[in-house]
Amino acid sequence: MRGKDVRLDKVMIRFGDATAVQPLDLTIEAGEFFSILGPSGCGKTTILRAISGFIEPTEGRVLIGGEDMVGKGPNQRPTALIFQNLALFPLMSVAENVAFGLEARGVSRADRLKRAQELLDLVALGGYGDKKPSDLSGGQRQRVAIARALAVEPSVLLLDEPLSALDLKLRQHMRTELRAIQRRVGITFIYITHDQGEALAMSDRVAVMSRGRLEQVATADQLYAEPATPFVATFVGEQNVLRGKLMRTIDGIATVETAVGRVEGRLRAEIGAGAEALVMVRPERIALGGNAGNSVPAKLVARHLEGPSINLDCEAAGQHFMVTMPNGPAVRDLPEDLVLSFGRDDALVFAEGALANG
């Protein structure tokens, strides 16, 4: 099996009056584990269906391995889709399920069952061929769905939130497993999810979508450390958001007048003095005491113990602050009055815009 690259060329998708996907360009490299991350209704599933061929883009082209896919149905594309509810055929045995794609291609019964057995071995379900899907556990069904999709030797495997029905432990286990399978077969994986943990843990690159638009395409580390928009900043991980007015910018360091006083941070937008601005600081980048550039006196409202870490709920001039600290002796007996400090590099300044959690 060889992976192929997928290119969306000015793809726009409209249903009636509603535009599900705004015109966008996106290139997914061959053999890459690529995730599309976004809240429900952001258009990510629509994009997946356009790649798999269930819907045609209203405008633009989908190219797979450089070949234009226009007019090709789902059964003619080198893609295989794993559905959110897996959509295994309940009346067929596990082996028949896996062999179905080969059956459709006219492979003889003996050959296709042999191939199904190999694939079931690949997903560690060698002895389950004669069982019905309903006899298997959630994780096993998941692996059957993967084997069934791999049986048709796709160049691109599309996964539509296939882990969302599993419980937390199994989900974490399946993440590692999916990644391992992708490495083994070497084809392109395009993974749709609203769960940032899944996207960040598995992917080579992640695209964040919101309201039919691509917000940012980057590696997981870049997304977390260098978000391009307020939406990405707040959707991926937690943020403390301060609203204010931009005073001035010197060498990329912006000074913003906020309710808690003047705050300095790196400017991430093309805005000039006087504009409405958002300052974002991650809870784990805030320290207690010290003088790392910005310091805000605040009152401790509540402590939430998470186990290895602790969340401090603080307030300063009506502004709410969340501080995450490693759990230890230093945070056992905290006074009510604290000084929160964070460096200029830890604060990002954006233009006023849409946030992820409203």
């Binding site: 269930f54 789902p74 059964n75 067929m92 059956e103 459709a104 048709v152």
Partner: protein
């Protein structure tokens, strides 16, 4: 009973049980039992008795002539006693003639004439054919209704299917009669287009063909085939269809391997209903053929009851039909691998 009492209280549980028992008794056990009983006996009302009575009357007339001419008192007394004997014989025979003795046995079933047996077999065959044709017609309709995407489409299709069924069955059959009659809509159109001349009796005799009955029957029973199928098809996860397509399956293979296996219980129920209704249909063949086409078995049953006035024979015919229909149900269930449980769903 115990669990019912726990759930609803003793009084309500007793009521529920009583209603169920009454239902089974009044609507199932008693009528079918009565019919079975009727079919198992007959009265020997053969011509022999009538013939012997006639003969006896003749003999009496002759003897009475003798008695009038006889002069010897001894001889006259002997003749009188013979007359008396003959008269009592007539009385017993006449009693037998008006109320012949019941005879129990299976003769009602074995006595079916070869013509009636032929009609019986042909009716079963026709009913099977109607079922098959109705399935072919209804499967695409059921599929379209069940998988219609917008609620509007579903509403339109449901209305289009249900509204015709708000009209009386007889009217619907008569409508087909008007369409297919000698001077009906189709022949009228053909004449108007100049293909045939109605005055020269060049019409196409649709009604003399069993297919006219088939057509009306399929139309009459479409709903019974469509709705069970719609019900099962609606429960099909559409992702399965898309998954099959995505894996490269052709439309035909998707239907054969994914959709039809899923719809099996609905197909079985639809086929059973359509078969039972068409095998036992009376009005459709009567109206559509008007005696021009062959009889259906239901017409024979009717005639046994109300024209031959032989309820025993009629019951035997009806029971035969019932047995064959029950066998059909069991075969269908076996063939489709569905149990009563699946059908009840």
């Amino acid at each position: 009973m115990a669990s019912l009492a726990r759930a609803y209280g003793k009084l309500l549980a007793a009521l529920i049980c009583a209603i169920t028992v009454a239902w089974v008794l009044v609507l199932i056990v008693v009528p079918i039992g009565a019919m079975l009983e009727q079919s198992l006996w007959w009265r020997e009302s053969g011509g022999d008795i009538t013939l012997s009575i006639d003969r006896l009357y003749n003999e009496i007339a002759v003897i009475e002539l003798d008695a009038n001419t006889a002069t010897d008192p001894a001889k006259r007394a002997a003749i009188e006693s013979t007359l008396e004997q003959k008269r009592t014989e007539i009385a017993t025979l006449e009693a037998q003639e008006t109320n012949p003795p019941k005879m129990y046995g299976l003769a009602n079933f074995t006595r079916m004439s070869s013509l009636h047996l032929y009609i019986f077999v042909r009716t079963i065959f026709y009913a099977l054919l109607v079922t098959l044709l109705a399935f072919i017609v209804c499967y695409p309709i059921a599929y379209a209704v069940a998988l219609a995407s917008g609620p509007r489409k579903t509403v339109i299709l449901t209305v289009a299917l249900i509204v015709p069924y708000a009209i009386n069955e007889l009217l619907r059959v008569y409508a087909w009669l008007m369409i297919l009659d000698y001077r009906g809509v189709i022949n009228g159109l053909l004449a108007w287009a100049g293909f045939i001349d109605l005055d020269a009796r060049e019409w196409i005799p649709f009604l003399e063909n069993p297919s006219a009955v088939f057509l009306a029957m399929i139309y009459t029973y479409v709903l019974f085939m469509v709705f069970p199928m719609v019900n099962t098809l609606e429960t099909l996860d559409r992702n399965q269809i898309e998954a099959a397509r995505d894996l490269g399956a052709s439309t035909w293979r998707i239907h054969r391997r994914v959709i039809i296996p899923h719809a099996k219980p609905g197909i079985a129920v639809g086929c059973i209903m359509t078969f039972m209704l068409s095998a036992g249909s009376y009005s459709v063949p009567v109206i559509m053929t008007r005696g021009q086409g062959g009889d259906w078995f239901s017409q024979l049953v009717y005639r046994q009851f109300y024209e031959s006035n032989n309820w025993n024979m009629g019951s035997a015919y009806a029971v035969s039909l019932l047995v064959v229909c029950t066998a059909f149900i069991l075969i269908m269930m076996r063939l489709f691998g569905v149990g009563l449980r699946d059908i009840a769903k």
